[in-house]
């Protein structure tokens, strides 16, 4: 690209080198998924990453749920696309919000996040730092019920407790249960309640001036949503079933009154959510490192007086 003109040193090529090294190394990303059972979390994750992360899924009955406490289950999958390797870990939290008394149901979750921070802190301070594995939670999809009128008391408490530890992205799944008007109303209500309670959800960064046009446009479209277009929280539909529509096989849900198409932007925000996640993976990791982890680290070090 750059000619061997006088004065050209060549370090402008550094981003390419970094890029090439990252591609060789591969990326690690940990996504946590939180929400009551039956909100469509697993289906959505499978749809987003076009895999079946839960092949032998067992759904417990209500009587069993009475005894259960919140579990943490991590599944890792390696996804490769055009030579780029992604090691994706999805952390599930079955049992969350199911019990009659959900008073302490997110203690386990907070503990898990802190443990990953702790482990990283330990590795970072160690002698051999060549192969530090980053298992810290980079993003948390918090599922809001499409059947309610807004946030539930549990939703508020959870987000208040976790917004200083992880990037929270609120998601409304099973969005096909809402008409467009109901969707807008619900999103607005959720955003109002989030701001009312001072909850800090993940903010899309402003595109820098020297970013490429495509990235800027994508971010702009997504960002415009924060106020007038209201895409956040993302109202999505997931499905791994293929339905034939106008001669093509597409992912969707077949009802007696019509077909809901997962990847149709007029039906739901699925594509926007996927785009957001994919284009902001890097940023999500950075914010985790620069904000949430640093907060944890300074608290920790202050406490032990090291």
């Amino acid at each position: 690209q750059f000619s061997d003109s006088a004065g050209y040193v060549g370090f402008a090529n550094l981003p390419n080198q970094v890029h090439r090294k990252s591609v060789k190394k591969g990326f690690e990303f940990t996504l946590m998924v939180v929400g009551e059972s039956g909100l469509g979390k697993s289906t959505l994750i499978n749809s987003l990453f076009l895999t079946d992360l839960y092949p032998e899924r067992y759904i417990p009955g209500a009587a069993e749920k009475i005894e259960r406490t919140v579990q943490i289950e991590a599944s890792t999958v390696e996804i490769e696309e055009r030579g780029v390797k992604l090691r994706l870990t999805v952390v599930d939290t079955p049992g969350y919000g199911d019990a009659i008394n959900s008073q302490d149901c997110f203690k386990t979750i907070i503990q898990y996040i802190d443990n990953q921070f702790e482990r990283y802190l330990h590795d970072e301070s160690g002698l051999n730092r060549r192969h530090i594995i980053d298992n810290r939670v980079h993003c948390c999809f918090y599922f809001i019920s499409p059947f309610g009128h807004g946030l539930k008391p549990l939703d508020v408490e959870f987000m208040k407790a976790l917004h200083g530890k992880v990037n929270i992205v609120p998601v409304i799944a099973k969005a096909d249960t809402l008409t467009l008007k109901e969707r807008e109303r619900l999103k607005r209500r959720v955003l109002d309640e989030i701001s009312e309670h001072g909850i800090r959800i993940y903010q899309l960064p402003d595109a820098d001036s020297d970013e490429d046009e495509e990235f800027k446009e994508q971010t702009r479209v997504l960002k415009a949503s924060c106020t007038p277009n209201l895409f956040i929280p993302f109202a999505v539909i997931g499905s791994n079933q293929l339905i034939e529509v106008k001669g093509k096989k597409i992912r969707g849900r077949l009802y007696p009154w019509g077909v809901v198409e997962v990847e149709n932007p007029e039906h739901n925000d699925f594509l926007k959510l996927r785009t957001m996640l994919v284009t902001h993976m890097q940023d999500l990791q950075e914010v985790t490192q620069d904000l949430h982890y640093e907060n944890f680290r300074s608290e920790r070090l202050k406490r032990t007086g090291k």
Binding site: S37, L39, K65, I66, I100, P153, D176
Partner: protein, 348 residues
């Protein structure tokens, strides 16, 4: 078919428990029965009973229980084709989830075909909405028992009313969240406790979130869970009176229930007709279309065929159970008071 009457017109008074009759459609009395030597006119009693019911009207009290947002108010409004429950559309910003379970009873008089119904809808906002929902069914159980107590007090009065106002809950619609997985622990706990004191009809709310297969599977699973946990919802097996009852009710219990419903108070044009429905970018969900959801089944069940039976089971079974327990506890009849017209309170 011989002369018959609808369940809604059978019993005229709450005080005289009638033997439960089959649900059939009213017919005009036939003029001559070939087997009799002449026409006596006994069958005109049906017409007399019908006229009496139309004059006096009747009470029906329906309670709705479920987490906020499951469409309870909308469904009740759709059932009775009027705004009988607190606003079903247009969320109010000021409306917050109450911190404890509240019991709100609103009465309406609706009329159809000359028959007057005093309908009371009992709402239970706050149920299941807190972080800690332990024992949140207690205020509901308490309310139901209080109505039995009210009725009992009237019944044992020396100078009692000709027609005791009936505030007892005849039917409790329990709204199950359409997760597609299973019942929630709270659902089990509520139904276990309350099925012993009131007729519970479980419904799957907002059923437009499930495809046909998901619906069938979910219903099967819910039925199984209810059975395994010994929860008897209405129509209870033990109260089937005869084979005909049993056959009809078996079909309802094992196939139709819990009814997967969708409610709406908005109308749309579909194939030249105005229908109640929900408009989405992928199609219009028609509330009264049986291929879309089971709202019409629920409506027919509660209103057109089993309305009277719901009242009778409440009176003959649940109320009697309460009464027997009270009399046993007290070692006899509760203390009697002479009540005057002024003292008596009306619930409407």
């Amino acid at each position: 078919a011989g002369p018959a009457e609808s369940k809604t017109e059978a019993a005229m008074s709450e005080l005289v428990p009638e033997p439960r009759q089959k649900p059939v459609v009213p017919m005009k009395p036939t003029s001559i029965n070939a087997n009799l030597l002449g026409y006596i006119g006994i069958d005109t009693i049906i017409e007399q009973m019908r006229k009496k019911t139309m004059k006096t009207g009747f009470d029906f009290n329906i309670m709705v229980v479920g987490q906020s947002g499951l469409g309870k108010s909308t469904l009740v409004n759709t059932l009775f084709k009027s705004q009988v429950s607190r606003k079903s559309s247009g969320w109010n910003r000021e409306e917050k989830i109450p911190k404890t379970v509240e019991i709100k009873a609103i009465g309406h008089v609706i009329e159809e075909g000359g028959v007057k119904m005093k309908l009371t809808v009992i709402d239970t906002p706050g149920f299941g909405d807190q972080i800690n929902n332990e024992n949140c069914w207690e205020p509901i159980e308490k309310y139901i028992n209080e109505q039995y107590e009210k009725f009992l007090k009237e019944e044992v009065n020396i100078a009692r009313k000709k027609r005791i106002p009936d505030t007892r809950v005849h039917c409790c619609l329990y709204f199950i969240s359409p997760t597609g997985h299973s019942l929630r622990p709270l659902d089990l706990e509520f139904m276990k406790h309350l099925s012993k004191v009131v007729n519970i009809i479980p419904v799957i709310a907002k059923a437009d979130t499930m495809t046909l297969e998901e619906k069938t599977e979910f219903k099967q699973r819910v039925r199984k869970e209810l059975e395994v946990n010994g929860i008897e919802f209405y129509p209870q097996k033990e109260f089937d009176e005869d084979l005909e009852d049993k056959t009809e009710n078996d079909k309802i219990r094992q196939e139709s229930m819990p009814f997967a419903v969708v409610g709406s108070d908005k109308e749309y044009q579909v194939n030249g007709k105005r229908v109640l429905g929900r408009k989405t970018p992928w199609g219009i969900i028609e509330v009264e279309n049986l291929t879309h959801c089971e709202f019409a089944l629920l409506r027919d069940f509660v209103i057109r065929t089993h309305l009277q039976d719901l009242k009778e089971v409440t009176h003959n079974i649940h109320y009697e159970t309460y009464r027997a327990k009270r009399l046993n506890d007290n070692g006899g009849l509760p203390p009697m008071t002479v009540e005057t017209e002024e003292n008596h309170e009306s619930n409407l």
